[in-house]
């Protein structure tokens, strides 16, 4: 084989290898279909609004709540501590870069059940296993947490703990969303400060 032929062969090989590669490594599903189906249908991929309320109240740093609604909707009302990644722009930023954030759980929510579950299937398809969905979305959050009331004579310790978490989450949500946008960030910082003082820590 002479030099010309070797060069031609090399070019052909590179060309075919490039043709075999996906258009973008981060934007094509990499998990085998059957395995992915099992993963996305696993009940552990759903978290309840009560679980999210507990994460918010306890300021669980291993959890990142991700709001998939539009920036306008996010600005109007959002779950404290959540970040905005509109589903419409889900591919504009590299989801892998955003979700490989060292958090044990990234929890998606939208107003209902469609966008968050589309996003979960995409994220899991891209092999981002630390992704979950808040079942029922913000509508369920309002229904369960914000409209939480206690009626009856007796309450079990478990019910009491649940009710207390909901009440604290509701208070936090209300305080946060009643503020002007400029103050919301400061509010989050101040709650960290208050917690440190209560624990006897110092700044």
């Amino acid at each position: 084989m002479n030099t010309r032929q070797k060069f031609s062969a090399g070019l052909l090989i590179i060309g075919f290898i490039l043709a075999l590669l996906p258009l973008s490594g981060s934007r094509s599903f990499t998990v085998r279909p059957q395995k992915l189906l099992g993963e996305v249908l696993d009940s552990s991929t759903w978290v309840t609004v009560d679980q999210v309320a507990r994460f918010i109240v306890t300021e669980d740093s291993s959890v990142q709540v991700i709001d998939l609604r539009t920036p306008e909707e996010f600005k109007t009302v959002n779950i404290p501590g959540s970040i905005n990644l509109p589903y419409n722009n889900f591919f504009d930023v590299d989801p892998a870069r955003l979700l490989n954030n060292g958090k044990a759980r990234n929890i998606f929510y939208s107003n209902g059940d469609f966008d968050s579950n589309f996003a979960l299937a995409i994220a899991r398809g891209l092999n981002l296993k630390n992704t979950f969905v808040m079942k029922g979305g913000l509508n369920e959050w309002f229904n369960t947490v914000m409209n939480s009331t206690f009626t009856g004579d007796k309450i079990s310790p478990r019910e009491n703990a649940l009710f207390e978490t909901r009440t604290r989450a509701k208070k936090l949500f209300s305080e946060m969303n009643s503020m002007p946008d400029s103050l919301k960030l400061k509010f989050i910082q101040s709650t960290h400060l208050a917690a440190k003082k209560l624990d006897g820590g110092c700044e």
Partner: protein
């Protein structure tokens, strides 16, 4: 130069090209793999053209195939409806039935999240004319209005 001589002289190159060609064909025609460019196949979920309200059933062109994804809510099978438990969607029999159906395929489940997830997977496998059948027009609309007094919410329904 005769063809046989050319082939003989370049047989290494031809062998490599043929191998790569086979790999490309397997990849592009394989039914067990996801398509390239996830964004493209997710596009109709972004512009919401994949959701059909049950009241408007019959709007898509062609014969509809309804897929009931609920395991425990069996509906009598007929030519227009299949009961496929969501975890069996990729079993050969059902997968072929879905992929080979020319008309619109409409997924429905009591859990709209399951429909959305299965829709995304089938769509990423290259299924076109795939829809979610929903009984609500406003699943992604916030039904509550937050009152800034922080003490109550209002249901806007």
């Amino acid at each position: 130069m005769k063809l046989t001589e050319v082939i003989k002289k370049n047989r290494e190159v031809i062998v490599i090209v043929l191998i790569l060609l086979v790999l490309i064909l397997v990849r592009s025609t394989g039914k067990n793999h996801f398509k390239n460019d996830a964004e493209k196949w997710a596009q109709s979920s972004i512009n919401k053209s994949d959701i059909i309200i049950s009241e408007k059933l019959g709007l898509p062109d062609g014969k509809n195939l309804l897929i009931n994804l609920d395991k425990d809510k069996f509906i009598k099978n007929n030519s227009d409806l299949l009961n496929i438990s969501s975890d069996s969607v990729f079993s050969k029999k059902y997968f072929n039935a879905i992929m080979k159906h020319d008309g619109p395929v409409l997924l429905f489940s009591s859990n709209s999240g399951v429909s959305a997830r299965v829709w995304m997977l089938l769509s990423q496998m290259g299924k076109k004319k795939l829809y979610i059948l929903s009984d609500k027009t406003d699943n992604e609309v916030l039904k509550y209005k937050f009152k800034p007094d922080g003490l109550s919410t209002e249901n806007t329904e």
